[in-house]
Amino acid sequence: MKDRQLAWRNLWRNRKRTLITAASVFFAIFFALVMRSFQLGTYDKMYNDVIRSYSGYLQLQHPSYLDEPNLDNVFTVDPELVSRLEQDPNVEAVVPRIESFALAAAGNRTQGVMVIGVEPERESKALNIRNRIVRYKLTTGAIEALKGEDLPGRLEKNIELFTGEAFTEPKDLISVLGISKKDSAVLLPLLRNHTSFPGSYLSAGESGSVIIGNGLSDYLEAVPGDTIVLIGQGYHGTSAAGLYVVKGVVSMPNPEIDNRFVCLTLDDARWLYGAPDMATSAIIGIKDGGDKELAATQQRLGAIAGEDLAVRNWKEMNALLLNQMEADNRSGAIMIGILYLVIAFGVFGTVLMMMAERRREFGMLVSIGMRKGRLAAIVGLEMLLMGIIGMIAGVIASLPIVFLGHARPLRFTGEMARMYEDYGFDPVMPMLLPDTFYLWQMAVVLLILAVAIAFSIRKIFKMNVINALRA
């Protein structure tokens, strides 16, 4: 009889208790993984949204711009410096931009907005504004028209919840509305027909046009072809005012940006703010944004840029968001910690019961010649098997949910969506695919088991055989 066979049989001598203990480990790791995947997936999306739609991974700035982001802290773009920066192996493009604030007005509505001046052709090498142009939108009119069509029952009932949602691709429309593959062939032409939205992206050399965020478009009730007024303060206190035609609407993932986003060509922005040849920042598009490579690239580019300019990474530029996420992350970690604490007591309870129930048996085994070390190894193996069964089952059960939640993120609609947007978050909760956080959760379970095993081993080594035989 091998020790592992004996341990396996012992595991099932009290089937219910083993199953309950394994189930407690299963639920702990299952909920921890699903919760963590939601949490980390949401952070990941937020970081990516900010990086890809707004800040980029790295920016070249005036050294004071980080603390005082205004037009007084601009720098003159030196084409030779840009060219040298672009020679770095991890750099795709260096794209200057002007970023400031203004009041935007259309009709009798006014909104404080963020104005970004970009080079339309080069911008796509660093950010992704071009691909965010809204092609389809569920306007009130579009929804009314769709209600007149033969829609599947569930969609017909819920379609009003999606009022105002904008899409860049037909597949997004299908996915968000939860239309099945079977229905999509019939519904897609209908949806395209009724939700089609005009507008296009800026062209190089174009003047007098702007792209605005979908949220801002809704607020100002300005659609492509309408005119908006921008009024603000330019370089060194000059007046900045201009009249611009809305050329397109973009759907920015971060609602805070989406509600205030106005984009025009860099030349127009320089003219508006009276800052010729200048930029508030230059987005540095990079190939590998991993932490290690990013830090190395930042260091190399910083050396090239010299002391008059600073190269900032996305974490430095979004410290507030990071702090917010960190605080949320800690509260999540505390919740998971409490979950594990409850489970740890459950596992410990099982160990205590098992040790008490089998005390005489342990005494007998040592008295007939089994060494305490071997006995401890068998008992430890039993505990380990019990925990590992629960752990593996929990990991396996979490995988389909995590993969599904990644492929089809949970999207809030209606009031819940508005609440998220009010906090500045996109009302979408994607799940992060299995990553190192899986290993961490498993490590925590193994640590709990290690403590339980250590306790049982200690009890065995301290066991008095005669007292145990009398038990």
Binding site: M1, R360, I368, G369, R371, L469
Partner: protein, 231 residues
Amino acid sequence: MKVVEINEVEKTYHDTEVEVRAVNGVTLSFEKGDFAVIVGPSGSGKTTLLNLIGGLDQPTAGEIIVAGHRLSELKPSELIDFRMEHVGFVFQSYNLIPVLTAAENVGFIMSLQKWPKEKRMARTGELLEAVGLADRHNSRPSQLSGGQQQRVAVARALAPRPEFILADEPTANLDSKSAETLLDIMEKLNREEEMTFIFSTHDVRVMKRARRVITLEDGKVVSDERTNHTV
């Protein structure tokens, strides 16, 4: 040939506020092939003496030599090995391993001693046959009666061919018929394998079968008599 020598052994417990001298200056020896019982009232020191002989406990004073080993000189881990090699234990409440079959229980100590599988299986079959359980190889302890379990326990104790068997109240939980059957088997094994049996008991049935009766009172040997009973 002496299997066990006990010289002026004392065992004192300090578990409570009162000092208890469970074994008080006992000097005894057991010969190979003995079929001896230690009797006495409760608290007379029978089980303590058995524990000392089996190396489960250490005397406060005196010396015990088993098969040439001075038990006081052995380290705890050596004592465990010593028990495995030289002593067979039969407990009052059988103490079989519940997850193993009868055959696996019998073969358990042999597997601890790393006997080859064939040899182990042959010895297991031989012993189960000897205790009348040849047809219960694959039965778990829960599927056996008390008497059958105790017979398996005897077979387990005998399996590695120890120097002697220590049996603490082996018939206490058995009905008359099972007790008689068990004693028949033990006597047979004593006769055929020349196995030394040392019992502690209150059971008159066991005393009647013994060829040597040692009486303890207050931890002291008050009588040590050879009987006329022949196997």
